[in-house]
């Protein structure tokens, strides 16, 4: 065969060197298994075959860490974990699936997870990361990140129509002095602005509303920002499955192929340094992708193809390999339309050029399909066919350049064996001296993680497609922080979908288990706060981690996954898709810095009647203010602690049983009533970063209505003696709720047996007034000034 690589005679050292030189990112065990395979075949592998194996076996495509055998040691106790993915994530989904009949449509098996929406449609959801490219070229990296996840949704089942985007970013500290930023690393503010513009210019052009997100700043993201891009799609019932048939043509649709992003899949498992390959960076073309979207949805509805997938990591090699897994395929690489001359066959095969989809089209539909594309100026080219041979045969100008067994490609490869350890720390409850709480509150509101994200939100179109029900910014002046967004994708129906996220990497510094529990709890709280319910919620898990070969890092991951499992099962919530990204590390002054192990939980909440929506802004004078949930002394790794340099303290936990009861009753209370004044609950806000203090302040200035509350009335753990703790503890599973003054009895009746406390009321004037435990007024702040504290930080 052409371009054979000298391989089967190599020793261990030489195999390792070869893997490194060819940028295969395959370890010795994997290289040896490939060697064994070719020894049995009695020939050397072709270059393109090694490239294909490297792509298909890459961390990005195969999730080797999540499927590994792990020796986990917690406080000296050994536990053997046979796949984190199956033992926890899939298990949680299986258990939830048993309780939610018909809800799960397609989980973990496709580009996106799919759940039931209504009798005619299902909902697909996927969140991806695009971290390394965004570090190098923030604009292009974010561009292609969002482009990629949109294609995931477009390529799931027979194709879902994207209806909403969500974007979560983690950056270094934006106000870091420029001189402290090392060479080769872009300033965090430049990265932030570039990422924002990249998401804006792609998402807006695609005509997909960006309705939800979060932005976090922390020094350990300096050289390795995180860019999570998510897309929700809607797909007609019955279109969730696909299968290429023997004899179907392989058609490439959309962009041309260039050298873009070669080795992107393997690149994502290499630590960043100054010399990182520039080939990994690309710029997207949203209009090309929009054209592809337009023709594919038409072709789908005409039934012109049998299967579809996106060209993501690994390009054609992954797409064709995946679609032909059960069949076999023959590809004529010279037929792929190229951006420019001079690409080697293997480069065509693994290129990650953007805006391409691969479809299997029965020959009888070839003409109609290609015409449909041509009519809208979309290039569609037959590059081969699916044939039932079990082989992946690659040709270039008639010559065979690669011939791989599908079975070896997809089922070969050794499992990874890894070690992990975790030591539980002794928990310290701290006492915090209460100082000037009004000033503390203003400082918290100005903290970049809490501060208004309006300057970013308003650059994103959240209205396009006409389905925006609860917007990212709400309230009297349309500038308060909405908890979750609600979208109504079918304009003549009232079914809605709420979209939210939970993320709090700092808690992981104390215990990743509770970080995970908190993230799930937060995402759920957000959905409930706008009128969603537990039955309709499905979760996605995205893990961004450091090097999993380091025992302590992997130990943190195991703790996190266990937290995910316990919390999801406590609420009967399924994970429907997810993604992991490892080796998020960078070199700073010769030292490797790992990002904080970061779990993003994204949630969608299907609502049967989105008219039951509710917003977080205070509505009417005289209404009562309640806290749902109990407040504990849990100041550890919270924002008050961060602001004041406090390292100790207990991390917020989740009391699953109590939380679930609170959630279920609150959902019922929120659902009562039709017109605004018939509703029991007029406003509901999740208590998260900055605790009760920040939550009530946000509600007051969002509604521009005064609030008077008393901390002594807040249901709290007995030993709390400090106002600051009650005000700023970030205990989970809590909400602040505005109850219609005339419906107090009904509210308390529904909430019977739950942890609730009436803490004050909506009053006249323009102030937030808080009485402390002593009964004396400890906070009296003007709402406009509080709002300004909250708005000023990220006005750039």
């Amino acid at each position: 065969m052409k371009n054979e690589i000298k391989f089967i005679g190599l020793g261990e050292k030489e195999l390792e060197t070869l893997s490194k030189d060819m940028l295969l990112s395959l370890n010795l065990k994997e290289m040896k298994e490939i060697q064994e395979h070719y020894k049995n075949l009695g020939r050397e592998p072709a270059q393109i075959e090694l490239e294909t194996l490297a792509q298909t076996w890459s961390e990005h495509c195969k999730h080797k860490v999540f499927n590994a055998l792990i020796d986990y040691v917690e406080d000296g106790k050994v536990e053997k974990i046979d796949s984190l993915f199956r033992s926890y994530i899939v298990k949680a989904t299986d258990e939830a699936g048993k309780k939610k009949k018909d809800f799960l449509v397609s989980v973990f098996s496709d580009n996106a997870g799919i759940v039931k929406f209504n009798d005619e449609f299902n909902i697909a959801f996927k969140v991806e990361t695009h971290n390394h490219p965004s570090a190098l070229d923030p604009y292009g990296g974010a561009n292609t990140g969002i482009g990629g996840v949109i294609r995931d949704v477009l390529g799931c089942g027979l194709g879902a129509k994207p209806i909403a985007n969500t974007d979560i970013f983690c950056f270094g500290e934006f106000d870091m002095p420029a001189k402290d930023v090392p060479k080769g690393i872009l300033h965090p503010k430049r990265i932030a602005k570039g990422v924002r513009a990249g998401v804006r210019d792609y998402g807006n052009r695609m005509g997909i509303p960006t309705v939800n997100g979060a932005i976090l700043f922390e020094e350990r993201y300096l050289g390795n920002p995180l860019v999570f891009c998510g897309t929700v799609g809607i797909i007609p019932k019955g279109m969730e499955t696909k299968a290429a048939k023997d004899g179907d043509l392989i058609i490439s649709v959309g962009g041309k192929t260039g050298r873009d992003g070669i080795h992107g899949a393997t690149f994502s498992s290499i630590e960043l340094d100054e010399s990182t390959s520039a080939a990994a960076v690309q710029i997207g073309n949203a209009i090309e992708e929009k054209k592809v979207l337009d023709v594919i949805l038409q072709a789908r509805d005409r039934g012109l193809y049998t299967a579809i997938t996106d060209c993501g990591a690994g390009g054609f090699s992954s797409a064709v390999g995946e679609m032909g897994e059960e069949l076999g395929a023959e590809v004529h690489l010279e037929k792929a339309p190229l951006k420019y001359e001079g690409l080697a066959p293997w480069e065509i095969w693994v290129s990650e050029a953007q805006e391409r989809m691969v479809l299997s089209v029965p020959p009888k539909h070839e003409k109609e399909f290609i015409e449909l594309c041509a009519n809208e100026d979309v290039e569609a080219t037959v590059i081969g066919e699916f044939v039932k041979t079990g082989m992946l045969k690659l040709l270039y100008n008639g010559e065979i350049v690669g011939d791989l067994e599908m079975d070896f490609l997809h089922n070969g490869g050794p499992r990874r064996e890894l070690k992990a350890k975790w030591e539980n720390k002794k928990e310290e409850k701290i006492s915090i001296k209460t100082g000037n709480l009004g000033e503390d509150l203003r400082k918290l509101l100005s903290h970049p993680n809490i501060a208004s994200k309006e300057s970013t939100i308003r650059q994103y179109d959240h209205e396009v497609q006409g389905g925006s029900i609860i917007k990212p910014l709400v309230g009297a002046e349309n500038d308060g922080p909405g908890d979750a967004a609600i979208v109504r994708p079918l304009l003549d129906k009232n079914d809605g979908v709420a979209i939210a996220n939970g993320i709090n990497p700092m808690y992981g510094d104390i215990d990743p288990y509770w970080m995970a529990a908190s993230a799930v709890d937060e995402a759920v709280r957000n959905i409930i706060s706008v009128g969603g319910n537990l039955e309709g919620i499905a979760l996605l898990d995205n893990f961004c981690w450091g090097n999993p070969e380091k025992e302590d890092k992997l130990g943190e991951l195991v703790r996190t996954v266990k937290g995910c499992y316990d919390t999801a099962t406590a609420y009967d919530l399924p994970f429907i898709s997810g993604k992991d990204s490892f080796y998020n590390e960078f070199i700073l002054k010769g030292k490797t810095i790992a990002i904080p192990g970061t779990l993003l939980i994204s949630a969608i909440g299907v609502m049967k009647d989105c008219r039951k929506r509710i917003s977080m802004d205070l509505k009417e004078e005289g209404n009562l203010i309640y806290v749902v949930g109990k407040t504990f002394n849990e100041m550890g790794a919270g924002h008050f602690a961060l602001l004041n340099g406090i390292k100790e303290g207990a991390v917020p936990k989740v009391r699953f049983k109590e939380a679930r009861k609170n959630f279920e009753s609150l959902v019922k209370a929120i659902a009562v009533g039709g017109k605004n004044d018939e509703r029991i609950v007029r406003a509901c806000h999740d208590c998260s970063e900055g605790g009760l203090g920040v939550a009530i302040a946000e509600m007051a200035f969002a509604g521009m209505k005064s609030a008077e509350i008393e901390l002594g009335k807040v249901l709290q753990e007995e030993e709390i003696k400090e106002d600051a703790v009650i005000l700023f503890s970030e205990s989970n599973s809590r909400f602040v709720v505005e109850v219609n003054a005339g419906k107090k009895k009904e509210f308390e009746e529904i909430m019977k047996g739950c942890e609730i406390s009436e803490i004050g009321e909506v009053s006249g004037g323009n102030e937030l007034a808080i009485k402390g435990l002593s009964g004396k007024e400890i906070v009296k702040e003007n709402l406009s000034e509080l709002k300004e504290s909250w708005k000023k930080t990220l006005r750039w």
Binding site: L136, D137, Y139, G140, A178, L186, H187, K189, R190, G194, G258, R259, D260, A278, V281, Q282, I283, G284, N285, I287, K339, Y340, Q354, W796
Partner: protein
């Protein structure tokens, strides 16, 4: 090769220019820059006569109400430095590709050649070369995907 520069007429707010100015002052802390003017540059590598190029500039590349253009000559009056940023050769140039389609619409048929674009920033102020270079590397150009060049104007 035809070079067409497009610039806003002076009576209109150059929001790219003023945005860049505040980024230089606020993020790079280079306070000596007084103003920035932004210019779009189109490089048409095709066998076209001057009349066609003029038509392309008038009908496609400018907004006749707010912009003016120059063919094969440069805007530079009253500025001290010019910085030009363009994408590396193999990086997708969306603006250039769109211009190609627009030219085909106007000329009615094929375009024998291609269009690449560049962004030009005219800077006014007492800046030294080191500062100009920093503006390039730390703000305007990303070496991973872009080339930059600068020159002093007199």
């Amino acid at each position: 090769m035809w070079r067409i520069e497009v610039s806003l007429l002076s009576e209109f707010t150059d929001s790219v220019g003023t945005g860049t100015l505040s980024d230089i002052k606020e993020d790079l802390l280079i306070k000596s820059v007084e103003s920035v003017k932004y210019v779009d540059v189109y490089l048409i590598d095709a066998n076209l006569d001057e009349n066609s190029v003029k038509e392309i500039a008038e009908k496609l590349l400018i907004d006749p109400i707010t912009q003016e253009f120059k063919i094969n000559s440069e805007f530079s009056n009253g500025f001290n430095w010019a910085i030009e940023v363009s994408l590396h050769k193999n990086v997708t140039d969306n603006v250039g590709m769109t211009a190609e389609e627009g030219i085909r619409d106007i000329l009615g048929g094929k375009l024998d050649g291609g269009v690449r674009t560049a962004r030009k920033y005219l800077l006014k102020g007492k800046l030294d070369e080191k500062e100009v270079k920093r503006i390039c590397t730390d703000l305007l150009a990303n070496g991973i995907i872009e080339n930059y060049s600068y020159k002093k104007l007199d």
